[in-house]
């Protein structure tokens, strides 16, 4: 009998957690609509191809009665990509959303497979302007949530893409290299450059250390390479940092795109008390290509409300009504 037990990775929320999570989702959603975003609601179930071309073990899958394979949505970005590509909706357009997303994590590690996300997608605007709107709206959302200690961290997808393009590795080796970069594996990257030497050796070996204060990271990175496309990416990072001079932005050049459709600037927000990023976002121009639509510039971010709750809950007084 499983009547009284929860499936793996699922949790009930009661009292303080239930109330505060609801208020966070409501406050952030209201803020985004006040900022001029159009609320969008997409379905929880979709055909699995919307989210990935291959079956991903990290997603929940089920069959409908016609035998179609469906996924519980692991993110809303792909869904909004589908909406824009498959309807006659006019661009430019700005969307905001909130709701539950589902990911299948390693079992029995104390992880949640259901998260509440809020976020935005800014489609078809000039990319500089869109990035500015994305960063400022993310900051406002974190402030309205009551988060005190956090910092933004920028990166640029073109840096690693340029390296991979020049190295022209086999797909398996490419995956190995990205894994080493993502893990900031100092020893592994040094050994990799010894086995597969290239003009990027110094840059690749230093990648694990290329994060932190933007000024020193940029200065260090420019000494390590003079590749035109990477220099261009560093310049656009510097410009973004200068636009946000009143909110010091950090950099992490070893940020590996979490989604294959990222093409430009990427950003994450980290804070004390929470082991993962609160917010992740960036620019993706290739999202719509997957759905057979023309090339469009899109910038978006998603905020994990569960992580925000984890960071702020100890600051909130709460009395149970019994």
């Amino acid at each position: 009998m499983k009547k009284t037990s929860l499936p793996l990775g699922m949790h009930d929320k009661l009292f303080k957690r239930a109330k505060v999570m609801y208020q966070l989702e409501r406050d952030i959603s209201d803020l985004l609509m006040d900022l001029g975003f159009n609320r969008i609601e997409t379905p929880t179930l979709e055909h699995f191809e919307v989210f990935s071309d291959d079956l991903s073990l990290d997603h929940y899958h089920l069959f409908d009665k016609q035998g179609n394979l469906l996924s519980l949505r692991p993110d809303m970005t792909s869904q909004i990509g589908r909406v824009v590509a498959s309807t006659r909706i006019n661009v430019p357009v700005r969307f905001s959303y909130s709701g539950k997303v589902f990911n299948y994590n390693e079992e029995m590690r104390g992880l949640s497979n259901e998260h509440t996300q809020a976020g935005v997608e800014i489609v078809g605007y000039d990319s500089q302007k869109a990035l500015h709107v994305a960063l400022t709206s993310a900051k406002k959302a974190l402030d309205v949530a009551g988060l005190k200690q956090y910092h933004f961290e920028l990166s640029h997808a073109a840096i690693l893409q340029s390296i991979l393009q020049e190295l022209a590795l086999t797909p398996a080796l490419e995956k190995d290299l990205l894994g080493l970069i993502q893990a900031k594996n100092i020893t592994g990257l040094t050994m990799f450059t010894m086995r597969y030497p290239s003009e990027f050796d110094a840059f690749i070996c230093q990648l694990p250390y290329l994060f932190g204060e933007s000024e020193s990271v940029l200065a260090k990175a420019r000494q390590l390479t003079n590749h035109a496309k990477i220099m261009q990416a560093l310049d656009s990072l510097e410009m973004a940092v200068s636009i946000f001079a009143d909110n010091p932005l950090m950099l992490d050049l070893a940020q590996v795109p979490t989604m294959p459709y990222y093409t430009g600037m990427m950003f994450k927000v980290f804070g004390d008390k929470v082991p993962d990023a609160f917010v992740s976002g960036g620019r993706y121009d290739r999202l719509f290509e997957r759905f057979g639509a023309k090339q469009l510039t899109a910038v978006g971010w998603a905020l994990d409300i569960d992580s925000v709750y984890q960071a702020i809950h100890s600051d909130i007084a709460f009395e149970e009504i019994l």
């Binding site: 590690r109 104390g110 893990a183 900031k184 594996n185 100092i186 929470v274 990023a277």
Partner: protein
Amino acid sequence: MSKQITIALTKGRIEKDTIKLLEKAGFEMSFMADKGRHLIFDSPNQQFRFLLVKAPDVTTYVRHGVADMGVVGKDVLMEHPVGYLEMLDLNVGLCKFSVASTPNFNPTDHKRKRIATKYPTVARNFFKQKGEDVEIISIQGSVEIASVIGLADAIVDIVETGHTLGANGLEVFEDICRISARLIVNKASLKNKREVLHLIQQLETVVGNKEVPFQ
């Protein structure tokens, strides 16, 4: 004020090797000499806190950020590959993963092999990469017996000296990969505590940035 760094370690050899490395890096580690039954240790100046836990749990503690970093064998990381940064090869605890069996084992035999192992992910990935489909039998320990008494055609296990294999009449047929102790780090700790990056750099000067080969 400098923040305390919490480090999760596996009791036994990895713990001893790690303490030696920290001593080489110039830290005073005598507070770890007399452990008794304690599982949590704070250094007298509050610079470090050590947690003594089981090997696979090191990854869990680091993933949740209750430990900022941990030291654990690559064998364990290969079974639990996500949720942390694997930043440095400490070049201690060297050994290897190998396929071993009795001398009459024929690796090119046509039949689908049964492989006994404590490391099902490692074994599955190794044979998959060779394009070979095998049946994995998960065994908790003393894996050698499985191939001696015929439960499995071969085993995938850690080999350090080869003495245990030899004593049980087994030999290595193929090496899978080198194993050593690795330093794993929580993503947010690296970004939020300067002390964490500083310690990694100090350890790098002790262990170097190149793999020391096994044997």
